[in-house]
Amino acid sequence: MKLTLRVWRQKNAGAEGHMSTYEVDGISPDMSFLEMLDTLNERLILQGEEPVAFDHDCREGICGACSLVINGEAHGPERTTTCQLHMRSFEDGDVIDVEPWRAAAFPVIKDLVVDRSAFDRIIQAGGYITAPTGSAPEAHATPVPKADADYAFEHAECIGCGACVAACPNGAAMLFTSAKVNHLNVLPQGAPERETRVLDMVAQMDAEGFGGCTLTGECATACPKGIPLTSITHMNKEWLRATRKAARR
């Protein structure tokens, strides 16, 4: 395959960026999108040019490091992570635009790499449970209804890649935050911090400069892990409940 890439290049956080055009040849349809970028970078290095910086780690769709907006879509045309996107999803001769996540809370560090530490601070605000350390507790000590376990797991699937923020026209982190809140709030292990968790995580989300939710549904469409839009609905419910309880205290 022969492709034309238009890639966002930006020297550092303070520099003005621009789209640069590159031709890549000899691309196999079985290559992943990142392997295609590796091919481009190898050539750039040989030519003595600066390679394109992009985030990647596990390359098997579970770490949440890769983060590219391809042709205007977070993680590209398939509902998966960029690393699991293969070149067979494109046609020979295609022009492909590659951009970083765009959000005020995710500043660009270099080229296609953005700083997602805002997500870490949201997790720190309440994405944990209070549990005594020591050996693992007996599995049957705390029974969890099957439906709750499934619900928790569905939300625990969130890998924190930030595609929801990148896809949202408001740069909102509602889907990420709601996945993290719901995952723990539905379980008995998460019950002691049920109210403070949702209040603190939403407050941190707002403090990081993410936008608000207008329920466009772009986040759930982009999510490689299929976190449903109703996750946001459930977090809203938890937040309103916690606010009422806090007022009564």
């Binding site: 238009r6 966002w8 789209m19 907006v69 042709n71 205007g72 879509e73 635009d97 951009e99 765009r102 959000a103 005020a104 809370a105 949202c168 026209p169 408001n170 740069g171 909102a172 209040l199 939403v202 407050a203 989300m205 707002d206 400069g209 993410f210 936008g211 608000g212 939710c213 207008t214 329920l215 466009t216 549904g217 772009e218 449903p228 839009l229 109703t230 946001i232 609905t233 459930h234 977090m235 809203n236 419910k237 938890e238 937040w239 309103l240 409940r241 606010t243 009422r244 806090a246 007022a247």
Partner: protein
């Protein structure tokens, strides 16, 4: 608690949802009242006068009406102020758009902000037209709502403004009602289809019900 709600994007959205639902309830009542115009001047004018005497003798003349007006004004202000503040925040949160553009979300979703501004402007015109009578085309006769409606919609631009605003209203409700349900935590996977259907039915019924009045005047059914 008020502080927590107002300072949070989630809380402010809840304010928008509640104020929107208050206005929606009012609109349903307003539309049903409007449709009485098809049963003649007697019934329509009688209904309009009754609005001023609701609650008597417990309430004084026009007290109930003014109570409703105050609640509605508060809802409009709360809705508009939170929409403005949240929109500013949203625009700041996404300072840079993508070079590669693609169509996003549905038409109703994308037109919420400007649609809301249009509805706000229409509201001002509508009150000046048929309540205060200051911008009324032709002669405004206080206390004769039937004749005022007929003389209003005998002018082409009143029809254009009104029908355009009602189409904007339908779009606004289509996304707004469903969104309000999500914001207040009432949505769920099993209920989603039902909520979307209710939103669409409400949007259609209200638009059709309101548009029926100018169409009735234009076609001579109401004269």
């Amino acid at each position: 608690m008020a502080r927590t709600v107002w300072d949070s994007t989630v809380g402010k959205k809840a304010v928008m949802a509640v104020s929107g639902l208050i206005m929606l309830l009012y609109l349903i009542a307003h539309m049903i009242g409007n449709l009485k115009i098809f049963f003649g001047a007697g019934e329509f004018d009688h209904y309009a006068h009754w609005l001023r005497t609701v609650g008597e003798p417990f309430m004084h003349y026009e007290w109930t009406l003014w109570l409703i007006r105050v609640v509605l004004a508060a809802a409009v202000v709360a809705h508009a102020v939170s929409a403005y503040q949240l929109s500013r925040l949203d625009l700041r949160a996404r300072p840079r758009t993508y070079v590669h553009k693609r169509p996003r979300a549905g038409y109703a979703t994308r037109t919420m902000r400007w649609g809301g501004v249009i509805l706000g402007l229409f509201l001002v015109w509508h009150l000046l037209d048929l309540t205060a009578g200051t911008v009324h085309p032709g002669t405004f006769r206080p206390g004769h709502p039937y004749r005022n409606v007929v003389s209003d919609f005998s002018h082409w631009y009143s029809n254009v403004v009104y029908i355009a605003a009602m189409l904007a209203l339908g779009l606004h409700i289509r996304h707004g009602f469903w969104s309000a349900a999500q914001t207040l935590g009432a949505g769920s996977r099993t209920r989603d289809r039902a909520l979307k259907t209710v939103a669409n039915v409400l949007a259609l019924l209200l638009t059709a019900g309101f548009v029926a009045v100018p169409v009735g005047v234009m076609t001579g059914v109401v004269s």
